[in-house]
Subunit: 429 residues, 2 copies
């Protein structure tokens, strides 16, 4: 699932500005190596591939997250693992095991450091994600326990990324730098490059310097290991829609109405009420979005799209789509309010109610307790994830190549060679 | 001076383990580009060259520092500027101007953030140095003011490096990563890669996240700009000896005795007393060093070397040199004590007195208020810096090439092409 989801959004993201500028500015076209730059037929050195694919994987903000790590766990790991797997001749099973190791590592650091770490202004996708990538790559490259500890100590000196750069291309660059850094830590450590394996607990180490004395609990990082594994419960949060997760339950409620009623004619709608969690509204109450990015955070826009189009796809958040007259005309009648008392349990920070009043006075309403994909207990059905992959991958691959890729990902554990696997993803150009 | 000093220690550092492992582990041998890897005849992409040369420049810890930035300013800038200068066809004057811009930028950040930033556990060489490199490269590449602000905002997401990794190869890696990151920020920003130019003052920006509320003074960064320029006063601190700066004044005092007396026969010495600043002694009071690194921090070893050899060169801190019997035999008779009341002004944290009692009962004593090179007001004579360059560069270049390099550096402002200049530094291999 992580591979399916992450490769899809990376292929789609590869057409965006951020990876394109990176490729040009750093003159990656002048280099050669074993590792595919996704969305192209170019092969780069594994560190360059990890960097640019890492940027592609996160540039749409459509990739899965670890709630415990409070960041995008697979977007940083998959690019590094695929690039390294191509370089070292690994297979699909190796990548999956390494991903599980890294996911758990990132989550464990989250247990000891969050949410203070996140609230303070660090971007855990990169500042904790680098340990996930390092552990994952250490596993893939077969490092000894001592080398792995050394690699983690080394990557404590590479952790970087602040939230002040959210909303700019530098946010996905955090993911790319992290993918590159974690892989580099493992490669260097394997060859004996020294670091301090006690770089976390040291008085001028990661815990004290990044979180500050009293703001972390190192014991929680290692206690109750595997009870259960975080990748199983709560597991990653996956996105079906390329917009702020705070709007997903409302989108689903709107789609439930469409399933009963069919897509709505905007002229037939008198009023739309939405009730979503109060703590989400500062991000998502945007009655008139002024940009494509704004639209991603507008619950009004997202719900209008769902009601009028019967789907929410990433094309709705691109270019001038947010200006489409049909949708904008409806927006003044779409309202956003916080949960009413009794509507949801007090700790529900995800559920939504959408209520449509039609011109004829009839009212239709739907309620969603929790959007699909928020945890492993509430998973997105595989066929919907496959549809997401198809939608994403079709941006750069022809229908035949998309089918071949899907087929291979379905049997990813049996893939003997990542290098042969990625040959399926090479674009014609 | 910065070029002469930094290129020398980088050429010498290139033979050390850290850059060698980096080169192997990251398979830099498989890449090609315009920028020389110092200490070789290989040319790499400019980012790779900045990375590996940055590691070489700092691996001996023999390069200059900015007291205001509290870090190694030129070791991060020169590798990036030379590599970028080769790639973009710049000349010597461009590099010198860019270095001055970057030095000032790093120092300004120091005014607003130190010493809290340093004391907390950040390694300012990289966490503030990245702004020095970014500003320097922005100048070299001719970025507009807006692009420069964007580049600095971007590099706020690349700042990394904690002191817990001091004493390992990861410390010079901080310099290499910083050189690479600052250059990358400028390259990306030039092509329109977006960041938040307010990434410093933002509530989850660099000042708050790295130093914490109340622990910085943003106004001091821009006030009294150029009054005077930091590169003029206090200026950088240069090292004549490849060991802890806390031992330098004692070495000079010992060398003054040698200048009068000639090198000492260890059998003729009854006792050696040294008085150095109390706050240095926790680092430098190491009567019997147990490793080459230990020897760099042993004032006893350094003074013994100066008295017996009449010089202190970096070969004295390599391999098994610290075990040499002639020197070890003297060590039990060399004593380290803090300044006596009245010996120096209370705020003197640099001066030293060395007193040698000979077997015939005669006593020779010398006093140094401040080691050469601590500030621009007390500079190392140019011929001694040139001798340091020769000593360093001779590790990888023949005598003819060393002379040619010295000649070119003497006229560095007139160097028309950095690419032609570095051709002089290519090794025969």
């Amino acid at each position: 699932m992580a591979v399916l989801d992450t490769l899809g959004v990376t292929l789609a993201g590869a057409t965006e500005d951020a990876p394109r500028i990176l490729y040009d500015a750093l003159e990656l076209g002048q280099t050669r190596g074993p590792s595919l730059m996704l969305g192209s037929a170019r092969r780069l050195g594994c560190l360059d591939a990890a960097l640019v694919n890492g940027v592609s994987s996160h540039t749409l903000d459509f990739d899965n997250t670890s709630n415990t790590m409070a960041g995008h766990a697979s977007a940083v790991m998959i690019p590094a693992l695929i690039a390294a797997g191509e370089a070292c001749g690994a297979g699909g099973r190796d990548v999956l095991l390494a991903h599980a190791v890294g996911f758990e590592t990132g989550a464990r650091f989250g247990h000891g450091l969050n949410f203070h770490h996140h609230e303070k202004g660090w971007h855990p996708t990169s500042t904790l994600g680098v340990f996930a990538v390092t552990a994952a790559c250490a596993r893939l490259l077969g490092l000894s326990p001592e080398q792995t500890a050394n690699a983690l100590g080394l990557s404590a000196s590479l952790a970087a990324g602040i939230k002040a750069n959210f909303g700019t291309m530098t946010k996905p660059l955090h993911a790319g730098q992290c993918a590159r850094g974690g892989l580099m830590s493992a490669l260097l450590s394997r060859k004996g490059f020294s670091a301090n394996a006690q770089a976390f607990e040291h008085k001028q180490g990661f815990f004290n310097v990044f979180n500050g004395p009293g703001n972390f609990d190192a014991a929680r990082i290692v206690e109750s290991w595997g009870g259960p594994f975080d990748v199983t419960a709560p597991g990653a949060a996956y996105k079906l829609y390329a917009c702020c997760a705070g709007a997903h339950a409302a989108i689903e409620a709107a789609l439930m109405l469409v399933a009963k009623h069919g897509v709505f004619d905007p002229r037939s709608i008198e009023r739309v009420n939405t009730w979503t969690p109060a703590r989400r509204l500062p991000h998502t109450d945007r009655p008139r979005p002024n940009s494509a990015l704004d639209a991603k955070f507008s619950v009004q826009y997202c719900v209008a799209r769902a009601l009028l189009d019967g789907k929410v796809v990433f094309e709705h958040f691109e270019g001038d789509a947010y200006r489409e007259e049909r949708v904008c005309g409806l927006l003044p009648r779409v309202h956003a309010a916080p949960h009413r008392p009794g509507q949801f349990a007090p700790d529900n920070n995800n559920g939504a109610v959408v209520e449509v009043t039609l011109a004829d006075g009839s009212i239709q309403s739907a309620k969603v307790e929790r959007a699909l994909g928020r945890t492993a207990q509430n998973p997105i059905p595989l066929d919907q994830l496959r549809a997401k992959f198809e939608n994403c991958a079709s941006r750069v691959l022809g229908p035949k190549a998309v089918r071949a890729a899907l087929h291979a990902i379905d049997r990813f554990e049996e893939v003997a060679s990542i290098r042969e696997f990625t040959a399926l993803l090479e674009t014609a150009v």
